[in-house]
C-alpha cells in the first residue's frame, strides 16, 4: 500500500506557486529520494507531505486518510519528520533530545515511563550513540549530531520517516554514516524513508525509488537506473552528464558533467 500519496497537489507561498498539480505515491517499506535543482520545490513538497506546510489545493494522504483530517499528535505517532538544519538548545544531552521523540506518546507533564526509557535507549543503541548519551548535542561532530536527531525521530516509533537534506552540511564520511544508518533502519526494521537529497550519487546508491523534480513538476520517477540517465539529468539539471555504473554498488553514478551550451539550452526549451 502507499503509505503516503498526493493528489493534484498545489503548493505555494503567498502569491507564488511552487508545486503545480503533483501526483506521487510513496511505497511502504522503501527508501524514496527526491532530487532536483535549487528552487524546484522539493523541500516545500516534503514539508507539505509532513503537514508542516499547508497546500493550496489538492490532498495529501497518509495511509489512505486525508492528512489534514488526522489530529496532529496521531500523525506524529505514524510519521516522523526531520527538517533541514535542526537546532537544539545548547546544553541539551543526547538522551534528552532523543526523549523529546517520545512526545507524541506523552501527556501533560510528560514524565518518562519505563517504556519511554526503553524506547529511548533502544533508539540510541540503533544509532550507535549509547556511550555518548550524556554528552551535549552541540559538542558532537556533524555526523554524530545528525544521528542524535535521527535517534529522536526513531524514538517516535513510527514506520515513516521524512528527512529534509539530512546530509547537506556533512563531510563525505559523515554523509555515508548517516545514509548507511538510514539504510539499516529500512532493511532491518522495514521503515519507510523519504528524503530530499542533493548528492545525486548518494541518491542513486541508496534509493529504491527516485523522484526527480524541476520547477514544481514531476519530471521522472522510478528506479535509480530509470532516473539517473543522461537525458533526465539534462532536463532536470541542465547539465551534460556522463553516467556510469559504480563498480562497487552496481548503481548508476554521475561521473562528471558540463554545463549545457547555450545552443543546447535553447533546443531544450524549444522541445518542451
Amino acid at each position: 500500500m502507499d503509505i503516503l500519496s498526493t493528489e493534484h497537489l498545489k503548493i505555494g507561498y503567498e502569491e507564488k506557486i511552487i508545486v503545480h498539480d503533483l501526483n506521487i505515491q510513496i511505497q511502504s517499506g522503501k527508501i524514496t529520494t527526491i532530487i532536483g535543482p535549487n528552487g524546484c520545490g522539493k523541500s516545500t513538497l516534503l514539508k507539505t507531505l509532513a503537514r508542516i506546510h499547508k497546500a493550496k489545493e489538492g490532498f495529501v494522504y497518509l495511509e489512505g486518510e486525508q492528512i489534514h483530517k488526522i489530529p496532529t499528535k496521531k500523525i506524529a505517532q505514524r510519521m516522523a519528520v526531520l527538517p533541514q538544519s535542526p537546532e537544539a538548545p545548547s546544553g541539551l544531552t543526547i538522551f534528552d533530545l532523543a526523549s523529546y521523540g517520545r512526545s507524541p506518546h506523552q501527556k501533560g507533564f510528560a514524565r518518562l515511563t519505563e517504556k519511554d526509557k526503553e524506547v529511548i535507549n533502544w533508539a540510541l543503541d540503533v544509532t550507535g550513540l549509547t556511550e555518548l548519551k550524556n554528552q551535549e548535542v552541540d559538542t558532537l561532530s556533524g555526523g554524530q549530531r545528525q544521528r542524535a536527531w535521527i535517534a529522536m525521530a526513531i524514538a517516535q516509533e513510527t514506520n515513516l520517516l521524512l528527512l529534509d537534506e539530512p546530509t547537506t552540511y556533512l563531510d563525505m564520511a559523515h554523509q555515508l554514516e548517516v545514509l548507511q544508518l538510514l539504510k539499516k533502519l529500512n532493511e532491518e526494521e522495514g521503515r519507510t524513508i523519504v528524503m530530499v537529497i542533493h548528492d545525486l550519487n548518494h541518491a542513486a546508491r541508496f534509493s529504491d525509488h527516485m523522484i526527480a523534480m524541476k520547477s514544481g513538476k514531476l519530471i521522472k520517477e522510478g528506479t535509480a537506473e530509470e532516473v539517473m540517465t543522461e537525458e533526465v539529468l539534462k532536463e532536470v539539471f541542465q547539465i551534460d552528464a556522463v553516467v556510469v555504473k559504480d563498480p562497487r554498488t552496481n548503481k548508476p553514478a554521475c561521473l562528471s558533467y558540463e554545463l549545457l551550451k547555450n545552443q543546447e539550452k535553447k533546443e531544450l526549451i524549444l522541445a518542451k
Binding site: 503567498e14 514539508k47 509532513a50 503537514r51 508542516i52 496532529t72 499528535k73 496521531k74 500523525i75 506524529a76 505517532q77 516522523a80 519528520v81 526531520l82 527538517p83 535542526p86 537546532e87 537544539a88 538548545p89 545548547s90 546544553g91 541539551l92 544531552t93 538522551f95 534528552d96 523529546y100 521523540g101 512526545s103 507524541p104 506523552q106 501533560g108 507533564f109 510528560a110 518518562l112 548519551k133 550524556n134 517516535q156
Partner: protein, 338 residues
Amino acid sequence: MKINTKQRKLVKILSIMVLLVILLLLISLNLGVVKISPMNVFQTLIGNGTPKDQFVLLELRLPRMVLAILIGAGLAVSGSILQAISKNDLAEPGIIGINAGAGFAVVLFIFTFQGTMTGLSALGIWLLPIFAFLGALTAAALIYILAWKKGINPIRLVLVGIGVNSGFGAAITIMQIKMNPQDFMKAAVWLSGDIWGTNWNFVIAILPWFILLIPYAIWKSHTLNILSLGDQLAIGLGTSVERERLKVLLVAVAIAGFCVAAGGGISFLGLVAPHIARKIMGPKHQLILPVAAIIGSFILLLSDAIGQNLLSPTQISVGIVVAIISAPYFIYLLMKTN
C-alpha cells in the same frame, strides 16, 4: 542515570537558594529605619515580640517581602516562557512592552477612577490587578497581531515588542503630563518599579493568581521544551503549536500583568534570572522554571534591600536597582550569545 543526577542538582540548588533568601530576609530586616535583629524576628514570629516589632514586621515588612518574592518569581517565570516561545534568549516582559501595557492600564485606571494615587480603596485593590492584567493582555494581543505574518517569527516578535513598548511609553508620558504634580511623582516612582501595595489586603488580592499560574507554568514545561526546538520540529512531534503557544503566552502575560500591578515596571529581571537558571541547570524547563523563580525572588529582594538602604533616607525604586544591576549583565550576554 542522568535524570536523577539532574533532580538531585535541582534539589541542591533550590535548597541553597531558599537558604540565601532567608538569610537575605534576616539581613534586610536588620537594616533600615527600624532594625529588627534576627533574634527579635524569631521572637516576633512566635508571638513574643514587642508591639512595635510586631507591627513593623508583620504589617509592614512581611507583606512587602512576600510581594517581592512573588513578583521576582513571577517575572522570572514569565520571562522564561517568553524566551521559549520567541526562541529568543533576549525576550522578557519588560523589553517587549507587556509591562508597559500593564503600566499604561494602571495609570489610566488611577487617573480615571481613583483620581489620585495616594491610596487605593478596597475595591481598587481588587480591581487594579485586573486592569493591569487587561493592559498586559492588550499589549500582548497587539504584539501577537502585529507580529503575525503567516505565523510568528521570533525576531519579529521581539522587534514588534520593542515598538509596542515605545508606543505605550509615549502614551504613558502623555497621561503623566495631564496629571497633577503629586500624582505625577507617585506615578513616576511606581512606573520605575516600586513595591507599593505593602499591606496584606494587597497580598491577598494577588496571591491566588500566582498560586494558580506559576505551578501551571511549571506543569507546561514539556510543552515549552518542545516549542524551543522551533515550529517545524514541534509540529513534527505532534504539538498543536499555535494553540499551545497561545496558552503559555497567556500565562506569561497574565503573570507579568499581576507583577506590574504589584510592583510597577521592572525590566530585565525576567531576562537575567532565566539566563542564570539556564546556565546552571541546562535547557529543560522542568529545571529552569523553579530555579529561575527563586533566583528572581532573590534578586528582587536584594534590589529592594539595596534600594531601601543604600542612599537612606532616599528610597531608590526597586526597578531602578534591578535595571542598574542587570543591564550590564544583559549587554554582556548579548555580546556572548549568537
